[in-house]
Amino acid sequence: MTDITSLPPETTASLDLHRRDMAVAGQWRLFWLKFKKHKIALASLVVIVFMYLVAAFADFIAPFDPNATNARFTYAPPQGLSLMLDGSFQPHVDQLKMTLNTESMRREFMPDPTKPVSVSFFVPAQQPYYLLGFIPMQTKLFGLTNPKPGDSMYIFGADRLGRDIFSRVVHGAKISLSIGLVGVFISLILGVTIGGISGFFGGWIDLAIQRFIELLRSIPTIPLWMGFAAAIPVGWPPLRTYFVITLIVSLIGWTSLAREVRGKFLSLRNEDFVTAARLDGMSEIGIIFHHLVPSFISHIIATLTLAIPSMILAETALSFLGIGLQPPIVSWGVLLQEAQNIRAVAQAPWLLFTPATAIVISVLALNFLGDGLRDAADPYESVS
């Protein structure tokens, strides 16, 4: 009669102390320990948190009203913000000298280094506003110290109506980082669920879902959007229109994910661990979400990060059809849309680069964050 306790003790003696720590660490702690190792992911997390903070406090951070126009400064180039003046800390920008050229129909600007315009932090706002929609505020994070006519501070330049691109990008983050991403998640949920059902159950359900996906996929998007554009009542507020269209876009967007998920499920559904879960009495949906989805999470993350920029940009196509965002609401897509002309490309590239950079940074950050999360969630240690 063998005593159970006399089984060879699988101690962790051969491991050093740290590893022993690791071996017994809780799942979440383990996750965090691993995630911390991924420096870029960590930095990305910081960037993303920062971006969302910017979006939340846009009113405070943006020095100007994103829709405030200024005829004097149409297409004003970016004014470099310098911190030092004559050896002391005195943030300032150079004043822009403007000449109106009626022949070429434009204003021409020359920075005048002899006329610094002082910039300081926590300046009074031109208009009181509500931070986060309810905190009454009178102060902006930074701005002109005492604005005189002719002074300006366009750190990322101005657009065709003399609006401050920096403020517009900051405000644009609100939409682009919120509603803009809703569609991605709807696509995700639909794609995984429907694709999962299709692949998991197979048979007639699979056949029907596959034909349906084929049908959806085979309709080109432009006519579809045009059809919807016509069907949406003109009286709807623009945000609702945009939201509904985002929904519709994502209702179509799930199909490719669904096909991939299905393929995966087809090959996984007969794995023993799935059978084991079924024997444990787990429901089919439970199996899909508890066992199958986690096993190709990296694919999902890759798909997601690829889908995000397309979602943010979807509205550039939509606004052409009159169902995108309408002024005065701004988003990064709107800003890029406005940069889509030869004038901006040739003579005001900052209109293009500023929003594009914002999108690239956020997408890269989301991507690397995704990578980091995936690696951290991956039980298989990868090379560090």
């Binding site: 159970i4 084991a276 024997l279």
Partner: protein, 566 residues
């Protein structure tokens, strides 16, 4: 010939490390041994002791981030030139010309070690192309010959097939063929016969022996099966936790083991040769008790037309262990799966007696009933890797059935810890993922999951195949202890006759989907009635180097009994 010129491969103080995030893990820690021309060195040892890593280190194909930290691997060629393999650039031309040509390797996992999208023939012939630039048709000739040698049926068609069309045993034989393609002077075989039934295993062992004799090939043979060791080994190396515990001739290891671990190993072997002690003291099950499970005329035909289960009838009584033995591919797993409706049998009845005395036919039961039955009848899967969700921690895996049964919070935690302790796993490891366990530990996780709900019947499919002998005997003891405590019944599927003998009250022998013989274990083992059973018994390697009897085996071929050597 002098001793030194006999030595082909000399491994000295080999150290292989795995740097992990949290520190250095020494998988191989100062291993030394020599391989002699025409001789076989068997490596045994606890699972996870570094046998495979040692083998891989020789060819410098340790998975990243593992690296060889020290020691030398001296290869001495027939012309007397020597090379230290451990010093070569792992991606360089030199080591490449050794791999596959001079030293070939058979990998442990036959299922996944073959490419799923290349034809069998291409994969085998590849080494010939790389090393000799053999033209296509010659390659084909050679591959066909190899396939014939490893007993793949109908090699002409098999050569153009894909991996997934092969059963586990066939894949393993393909791996062997691949390794033998270039007539290597050293063969490293990492558990090359685990998926093979004893009869086929014997053929393969014979083949290797023949090649050894004709080419003077040296063999490094890693195995858990002490019977095999006794049959083929010239020398034995015992490993434990990355270190060599003991090295010596096969007789010495079996008859005068020095090291404590070796002794435990040999003890277990001996113990497994007999009926378990626990069972000796058990009262016999009264013959009149109504069966727990009554299977009648069960049949299942796969879509491919293969009749995997053919009119099978069985009875399992409460508290009884029924062993199922049979050749690989005879339908054991399939039949076990039918019992739990993982596969839908086409005909027959599976009457299961519920605790309240009612009988339910599992084959036709509705969903709700099935869920209840499945909490009483549990399964241990043949493949411990595949049956554990790779992204769930062990704690979660074991807790899953409990959670579904409604257990929560502290109670759940305690129960999981309790179960882990039961199967000899440290409860502190509950947050680890399955891949961080060795093959044997994984099998124990499967067992813990199966017993979590206090079941009444467990269908155990090769539940101990990945364990080394000492662990195996302890696991079997545990299972029998649970049987005593809970009044459990087992359907115990196995290749291994010694396990059956140790564990089972009665045995059913399956052959090509049919039950060809059922009876009390002692009776079947000692006085087999069916030809196949006899053939099976004759091919069992005997764990005694003095008494190598595998050569006296014979084969059963659809009613004909032929001597293997005849």
């Amino acid at each position: 010939m002098s001793t030194t010129s006999d030595t082909i491969l000399e491994v000295k103080d080999l150290k292989t490390l795995f740097p992990t995030r949290t520190g250095i893990f020494k998988a191989v820690d100062g291993v030394s041994f020599e391989l002699k021309r025409g001789k076989t060195l068997c490596v045994v040892g606890e699972s996870g002791s570094g046998k495979s890593v040692t083998a891989r280190s020789i060819l410098q194909i340790v998975d990243r981030p593992g690296r060889i930290e020290g020691g030398s691997v001296l290869l001495t060629r027939a012309d007397g030139s020597t090379t230290d393999l451990a010093k070569l650039d792992p991606r360089g031309r030199e080591i490449r010309s050794v791999r596959g040509k001079e030293i070939a390797m058979i990998f442990q996992e036959p299922m996944s070690s073959l490419s799923p999208v290349h034809r069998i023939g291409t994969q085998i012939g590849e080494a010939l192309r790389i090393h000799f630039g053999t033209p296509k048709h010659e390659q084909r000739e050679r591959v066909l010959e190899l396939l014939r040698q490893v007993e793949i049926p109908r090699p002409e068609t098999a050569i153009d097939r894909y991996t997934f069309e092969f059963s586990g045993g066939m894949r393993q034989r393909v791996m062997i063929a691949m390794a033998l393609a270039c007539n290597p002077s050293v063969l490293i075989a990492d558990e090359p016969t685990t998926a093979l039934d004893v009869t086929t295993q014997a053929e393969i062992l014979d083949l290797i022996k023949k090649l050894q004799q004709s080419h003077g090939m040296a063999v490094l043979f890693i195995t858990h099966d002490m019977g095999v060791v006794a049959e083929i080994a010239d020398e034995v190396l015992v490993m434990y936790r990355g270190k060599v515990m003991e090295r010596g001739s096969v007789e010495q290891i079996f008859h005068t083991p020095q090291d404590a671990y070796t002794r435990r190993l040999i003890d277990s072997v001996v113990r497994l040769e007999k009926k378990a002690e626990v069972r000796l003291s058990r009262p016999a099950i009264p013959t009149g008790t109504p069966p727990l499970l009554d299977v009648r005329n069960l049949s299942l035909t796969f879509a491919s037309g293969l009749k995997a289960v053919d009119d099978v009838s069985l009875i399992v009584r409460p508290g009884e262990t029924l062993g199922i033995v049979g050749e690989s591919g005879s339908g054991k797993t399939t039949m076990g799966r039918c019992l739990l409706r993982i596969y839908d049998a086409q005909s027959g009845a599976i009457d299961y007696r519920r605790p309240d005395g009612h009988t339910v036919d599992i084959r036709t039961a509705d969903k709700a009933a099935l869920v209840k039955i499945r909490s009483e009848v549990r399964m241990i899967f043949q493949d411990p890797v595949g049956s554990l969700s790779p992204r769930k921690t062990v704690g979660q895996i074991i807790a899953e059935p409990l959670k579904i049964a409604g257990m929560k919070g502290r109670e759940l935690n305690d129960r999981v810890a309790d179960l882990m302790q039961h199967v000899g796993l440290e409860p502190a490891w509950r947050e680890r993922y399955p891949h961080a366990f060795s093959g044997g530990q994984r099998q124990r996780i499967g067992i813990a999951r199966a017993i979590a709900l206090n079941p009444r019947l467990i269908i155990a499919d090769e539940a101990t195949s990945a364990l080394d002998v000492s662990l195996r005997s302890q696991m079997l003891d545990l299972m029998m202890k649970l049987q005593d405590e809970l009044g459990l019944s087992y359907v115990f599927i196995s290749h291994d006759m010694s396990v059956i003998r140790y564990m089972c009250d009665r045995v059913a022998v399956m052959y090509r989907g049919k039950i060809v013989e059922v009876g009390e274990t002692d009776q079947v083992v000692n006085d087999p009635a069916h030809g196949y059973t006899r053939a099976l018994l004759s091919a069992i390697p005997h764990p005694d180097p003095h008494n190598r009897r595998i050569h006296n085996r014979f084969r059963y071929d659809a009613g004909r009994t032929v001597s293997a050597n005849g």
